[in-house]
């Protein structure tokens, strides 16, 4: 006999309800990866409430510089106003809604709507329109400024915005992840800069695939990326590569680290950055603990909830002739539909690096992790096919659940790592999917909370994700 449950396609509500329970078992319903109703709910509850990445300040260095960006699927102008302040303005004219920012990049002191000529300063302030007195003698211009994101904050040049008045400050939202931003991006006096424009491309996949994968799916490199080991692009042997840490930073922010056991270990330090780059890293810019971790770091990868991922790692675009270079790519998984994602990929270097090393770093990162990258190419294949599976009626009626159980239970290989030098909760080695469980737990909380989701500490998060007794490491 079929169960009543198997008799029909469940609603979004039911799926979320079932998921509340199944997540404790490390099981996630397939349906959340390709469902129109859930996708609409994500736009409503996740993307218009979370702190979303907008861009890096170095993309708009001068007053008037602007780029077009998206929060979820909605267009915003990322602009530096004449006073130098960074703003995130909704790109819809307050008159009738035409776009006011007609290019994806440029410099403008004003945005002028093409339809009737309403004109705004790059602060968003409405300043006039043709024949203003005759047309709008009584209108209060102040009421019709461009709408702005509710709050905008920047850390090490990375700009985030939220549309929700109830959102906590960015620092609070980031939880323990904040500490790691200093480790990775706070070392040099003049900080980071983006090279060129972000790549953009589309896949017929759900946006969460990328977020999940970068949250710590190291395990897939063993098989999916086997060609990379074979031709020497990635030079750490596959099994050795698993000897690293999974870090829960709370609030759904997750990381995976590969670090040297100590400073004297012969492998790469400081993510493989060239000594000329390492010279720029100054102990004074961070705490000793942070500096120590940076020193020993080989690979850092992670996802800031909901959809910003990063990868800091030594890579080469030409394994035969060029040694690996420290690289940093930051990528955003922008939702475009239940099974459609637009990937944005930025390549980031240290502002004061020699040009030659910037180019090597750029080419190494772009040659491996990008629309054409020989690493990332392969990820599109499973991600797209997961959307196919997740969209089936079979998956819906049978409540097909995906398995994120790796590392659960007392006997798992991966254990809480007492030696982890940073905040949050870490596990070692990387045979575990707890980082993904925490990510989906946070997602589930956003999807089901009517009021703004409360913070979850790394400890709670790691514990709830299938571990009972974990205690975090203070930093």
């Amino acid at each position: 006999m079929r169960t009543e449950r198997e008799n029909r396609i469940p609603s979004a509500e039911e799926v979320l309800l079932e998921m509340g329970a199944s997540l404790d078992e490390g099981l996630v319903p397939a349906q959340i990866f390709n469902d129109p109703e859930l996708h609409k709910l994500e736009l409503e509850r996740v993307f218009s409430r979370a702190w979303c990445f907008i861009g890096h300040e170095s993309e708009i260095p001068s007053p008037g510089d602007y780029c077009l960006r998206y929060i979820g699927q909605d267009p915003f102008i990322f602009v530096r106003d004449e006073s130098g302040r960074v703003r995130v303005l909704f790109d819809g004219c307050r008159h009738r809604g035409a776009m006011v920012c007609r290019a994806e990049k440029g410099n403008a002191s004003h945005f002028r709507c093409s339809y009737h000529g309403w004109t705004y300063k790059n602060t968003g302030e409405l300043i006039g329109a043709p024949a203003w007195r005759d047309a709008y003698g009584q209108l209060d211009k102040k009421e019709f400024s461009l709408l702005s994101a509710t709050a905008t904050e920047s850390i090490h040049g990375f700009v985030f915005a939220t549309l929700d008045e109830d959102a906590p400050p960015l620092d609070e939202y980031l939880g323990d992840f904040r500490w790691y931003m200093d480790v990775m991006w706070g070392l040099a006096d003049n900080g980071l800069e983006v090279v060129g424009e972000p790549q953009r491309w589309v896949m017929d996949a759900n946006w969460k695939q990328g977020a999940d994968n970068f949250a710590g799916d190291d395990y897939h490199t063993l098989f999916l990326h086997k060609s990379m080991f074979e031709i020497g692009v990635y030079q750490i042997p596959p099994r050795a590569n698993m000897f690293g840490y999974h870090v829960h930073a709370g609030n759904g922010h997750q990381m995976s680290f590969s670090i040297a056991p100590d400073r004297d270990d012969p492998g790469p330090k400081f993510w493989g950055y060239d000594p000329e780059v390492v010279k720029l890293f100054r102990e004074e810019n961070v705490t000793p603990e942070q500096f120590e971790l940076a020193f020993r770091s080989r690979v850092s990868v992670g996802t800031i909830f909901p959809n910003l991922s990063f990868l800091q790692v030594p890579l080469t675009h030409d394994p035969k002739n060029t040694p690996p270079q420290g690289c940093l790519t930051v990528r955003q998984w922008q939702p475009r539909g239940p099974n459609r994602v637009e990937v944005w990929s930025w390549y980031v270097v240290w502002k004061d690096m020699p040009e030659r090393l910037k180019e090597l770093s750029y080419r190494a990162a772009m040659g491996t992790f990008s629309v054409s990258g020989i690493f990332e190419q392969d990820d599109a294949e499973p991600w797209q096919s997961i959307a196919r599976t997740s969209g089936t009626v079979f998956a819906r009626k049978r409540n097909l659940q995906y398995n994120f159980q790796m590392g659960m239970g007392e006997h798992a290989t991966s254990k809480p790592a007492a030696d982890w030098p940073g905040p949050g909760v870490a596990f070692w080695p990387r045979y575990e999917e707890g980082v993904q469980r925490s990510l989906y737990r946070r997602w589930h909380q956003f999807m089901t909370s009517a009021s703004y989701p409360s913070s979850i500490s790394a400890q709670e998060s790691a514990a709830a994700s299938g571990r009972r007794d974990v205690s975090g490491n203070g930093a």
């Binding site: 994806e104 990049k105 060129g196 790549q199 990326h225 675009h317 772009m366 040659g367 629309v371």
Partner: protein
């Protein structure tokens, strides 16, 4: 990392080309496309000059006055002989999932405009390109359109690709990856 603006003066106007140069370039481009569409990647790689400079600039929408929007420091591909060799080597492993099963591609090469250059050993050739790309059993497909600015070099009696700049007609690339050569 800066390159000249991709659309700066490159080949002399089509009106000045001679038919023999045209036909040489045309045949070379057809042959190249055939090897790629037939998945004969190793043979294709033999058409590549060791000094190859192969790039696909990122494009952003700019106002008309700001030009066509090709980046001079952001790229979708930026390859030399070594990195192309790595790509070819990878496709020969058993784990090149991105193209296994291979995409079904069809390269429509049109509007070929060629001119001799330098001492006569170089041909500069512009061509328009439309790539049809299908995968699995989906009747849907991707189209990739663009213009290519190539420099061909004759040496050892063979013609090889010395430079390629692929100018895509898309700001957001409309395919899930560039695991194929353009």
């Amino acid at each position: 990392m800066q390159a000249e603006t991709p659309t700066s003066a490159f080949v002399t106007s089509a009106a000045e080309a001679d038919i023999e140069t045209y036909f040489t370039a045309l045949q070379w481009l057809h042959h190249e496309a055939e090897l790629l569409d037939d998945n004969r990647i190793t043979e294709w790689f033999e058409l590549i000059d060791q000094d190859i400079d192969y790039r696909v600039p990122i494009r952003v929408t700019r106002e008309r006055a700001a030009g066509p929007g090709f980046s001079t420091d952001g790229w979708h591909m930026f390859e030399d002989y070594g990195s192309l060799a790595a790509r070819v080597a990878r496709l020969e492993t058993e784990y090149a999932w991105a193209e296994d099963p291979p995409s079904r591609t069809r390269r429509l090469v049109t509007n070929v405009r060629a001119a001799r250059h330098g001492d006569g050993s170089l041909i500069e050739v512009k061509s328009n390109l439309l790539i049809y790309r299908g995968r699995y059993d989906a009747p849907e497909f991707n189209l990739i359109a663009g213009e290519r600015h190539d420099t061909l070099r004759r040496s050892d009696d063979r013609i090889r690709l010395l430079k390629r700049m692929v100018l895509l007609d898309q700001a957001t690339v409309a395919t899930h990856n560039l695991a194929i050569f353009l």
